[in-house]
Symmetry: C2
């Protein structure tokens, strides 16, 4: 498959329809359909006062907060998050993203593996 350059402002966000979600939408920016072999990057917008589900699963998240303010439930506690934060949510760790009720909402990238369990190290990984 070939290279991709696409801007988050031109992404088609789809409402996340899932129990425990309020006011959140997602676009897959790079994923399986692009031929990406190992991990996908999704762009997620959470409206002011909205949230993602409080849950856990058998794969990790690696997140970059693009803009806005909110908090994340992680390690059993709420932590304030803001633009520029990189967050690692390990496998089976309960988590939830919430946007502050006031303000612009929360915009972040959330990367997930396509799969699990692999081979050799990549330089600088």
């Amino acid at each position: 498959m070939s290279a991709v350059i696409r801007n988050i402002d031109e992404a088609e966000q789809a409402e996340i329809e899932m129990e425990g979600v309020r006011g959140a939408s997602m676009a897959i920016m790079v994923g399986r359909s692009d031929g990406a072999p190992n991990f996908a990057i999704r762009h997620i917008c959470v409206e002011p006062g909205g949230h993602t589900p409080q849950h856990q699963h058998d794969y990790e998240h690696e997140v970059f907060v693009i803009s806005g303010r909110g908090d994340i439930l992680l390690g059993g506690e709420r932590h304030a998050i803001r633009g520029g934060d990189v967050i690692y949510v390990p496998v089976e760790e309960e988590h939830q993203f919430r946007a502050d009720a006031q303000g612009e909402g929360l915009r972040f990238l959330c990367a997930v593996p396509m799969t699990r369990d692999c081979g050799d190290p990549v330089p600088a990984s």
Copy 2:
């Protein structure tokens, strides 16, 4: 290993000392040493007029341009890039990032797999 929240503005950038690099530094934001199992996120800053090496390798990049302006060599051509762009550089695709000579330079995240070749699909990947 446990969860991580760290901001790119507090990352310790290390100069990239590699043939073909000019004015570029990197910090691993989430990586192998955090226990991340599948992929790593690095924060890369390129000074105005600087560039990463023009090369190719046997693993992909998934990139998010945080800020600044520049271009990328991809598919044999130079493409202008800017904040908000998500870029997929497939395996063995020649590429190079350059920051415009004028302006603030280029700041981006570059994610790489820890390894290659895996198993089952992850939802929404």
